[in-house]
Symmetry: C2
Subunit: 364 residues, 2 copies
């Protein structure tokens, strides 16, 4: 394995969309929500351990999750755990990691990955990553792994490739034409029918140098707060420096801040069985059992009547869940909380956002 | 306290209408579902202990609940625990108790009461019972305690009194004109508006002799299977005799079998804060907290949106229940099962009846 290749696992999310199964006290990346036998962050770490040297795997998270990261990856060295004072979305997180890696190794390539994705086929995944690393090592581009869409899901970003679907016939990467964040279902249907669109996996591959240059160009409001990083990251001053930088930093995603603006965006089409585990639908689309009315559940026993497209999750496997008269709902049951809500992701988000009111501290 | 007065607690119900809080393994009479600090059967026993001598309190239940009765009333003497081989509704249960008491004491008066009712005002209750006992001791009638209705609940039996509402002005008991089982809501509204109707509490007072005569007259199919009781009850042959009798016995309620047919039905109007705890609505109508949208709940924390008239019960008090978009539902959560169903009692009953299918043995 090449010592110039690194992986950065982003593990700072609070997993609020899967509340109450996932809570801010223990977000989904620190859970085995898909029942694989390991937590998501551990699966991610192990998956990359066969692609890059273990000492080249970094984890970026917010400070409050430090102990959870070390619980799941006790062998992680201190210098490979980057702690953010607050979550500021992906762009500042990637800037912090890129400066850190560039200072360690100016030749560094970086794979950037969320900590909580589900991957079915590790071998295909490995191949896509290795090919992407080879490509960005030779070409000055920002690579994103694109997933062939299987349904018009309005919760994903969609990426259009150049040259139409014919370009897909050529092996390897393809230049990106447009990014579209979360289209409505009808637009998503058009996208899929065209054959030119992929889901944005949120897994990126590039060199530290290229992403730093593109951020300086498209996101000066972020790179500005990191001024002086050369003298701070990897030194005893790092914590104080990062605290100050984050205090002044905007909250912005790498997709919105860089990928939608750059002319260096490329896509590697991938087909390794992927779920971002971002919503109950996407999680159970991969792993749940579905009855003939489209009800999906993880419990041993379910009794339904006049119900369809209900997602049932219980932290107690042998609990019987009996549901009558629900359509397009989620029923999420943990020891501490029970959520019954229409499945629509926006409604779910709006509703659970009310947990930020005083009095719900113990349940978030 | 008069040694001729007895109380018979009927404790054989399987409490299926409050499933899954109440299960056939532990029906509601053996639970403290209203959170009073004692189980319902214990509350019932204690309430009658100040009205009749303790040795004059009998419990009738099905054999499988024997240990639960003795768990809650360890001081109950063996001869005062009547065990039915199967549940055959109230008429055979009352026949068994009446023959037992008549053999012990031909002067016996009997109060017959379900084991699971909630009574708010013990003193008013005591007064109603004592007055009723006095009345039936002197008059050859079947007395039922009538409850002033507070809502047009279609789940109750309604009793019309003779002589119109003016008769209520006289103290004491009133002769009954008609019994009507579970009218629809619109008819129940007419009943209530008339001022002539009471809810049938299912609590009866009579002498053993009178009820035996009236059963022989109106329910010969029941009394026939008890032929020879004089030589069997209270003897070593009792268990075998009762087993044979119940095998051949029809399943029928005392209301349908006797009260609707007899000309000896009287009513004692009572106002002691009563709930039969027969449905979630009736239980929470008495004791739950209600928010401004009519949602009733027993948990410490609830979060609702676009929801009204939802009954929430959790066996875990500090569990947060978050409900969006439900109207007229019950949400019943125990450690073993979760029920989400329209509140309508018939729908609930039909739905939970499906638990009799194979595979649900552990959840009934």
């Amino acid at each position: 394995m090449d010592n110039n290749h690194y992986c950065v696992i982003m593990a700072g999310g609070n997993g609020s969309r899967l509340w109450p199964a996932s809570t801010t006290a223990c977000p989904k990346q620190f859970m085995d929500i898909a029942e694989t036998g390991k937590t998501s962050i551990r699966n991610t770490y192990d998956r990359f351990s066969s692609i890059v040297p273990k000492d080249n795997i970094l984890v970026v998270t917010v400070r409050k999750y430090r102990d959870l990261v070390l619980r799941d990856i006790p062998e992680l060295k201190e210098e490979n755990l980057l702690l953010e004072p607050y979550a500021r979305d992906t762009a500042p997180c990637i800037a912090y990691a890129a400066y850190t890696l560039f200072k360690r190794n100016p030749q560094a390539t970086m794979v950037v990955t969320p900590a909580d994705h589900l991957i079915d086929d590790d071998e295909k995944f490995r191949e896509a990553i290795v090919r992407s690393i080879e490509f960005v090592s030779e070409n000055n581009v920002l690579m994103t792994l694109g997933i062939t869409p299987t349904r018009p899901d309005p919760n994903f970003g969609y990426i259009q490739i150049t040259g139409g679907s014919a370009a897909l016939q050529k092996a390897g990467a393809i230049k990106v034409k447009t990014f579209t964040e979360k289209p409505d279902v009808s637009l998503a249907k058009v996208f899929i029918a065209s054959g030119e669109f992929f889901w944005n996996s949120g897994i990126f591959v590039w060199t530290a140098e290229t992403i730093i240059r593109e951020m300086e160009k498209h996101l000066p409001e972020v790179t500005r707060v990191f001024s002086g990083w050369e003298h701070a990251v990897g030194t005893p001053m790092e914590e104080e420096f990062i605290s100050r930088a984050y205090t002044d930093c905007v909250k912005i995603s790498i997709d919105y801040g860089v990928m939608e603006k750059t002319d260096k965006a490329w896509l590697y089409p991938a087909d390794f069985g992927w779920s971002d585990v971002g919503t109950w639908e996407s999680l159970y689309g991969c792993i749940g059992e579905k009855d003939m009315n489209g009800n999906i559940f993880n419990t041993a026993k379910i009794l339904t009547e006049d119900s369809h497209d209900v997602v049932v999750y219980s932290s107690t496997y042998d609990k019987l869940v009996a549901v009558k008269g629900l359509e397009n709902y989620v029923v999420i049951d943990t020891g501490k909380a029970l959520l019954i809500c229409p499945k629509d992701d926006k409604k779910l988000k709006e509703f659970t956002a009310r947990l930020s009111m005083p009095g719900f501290e113990n349940y978030r």
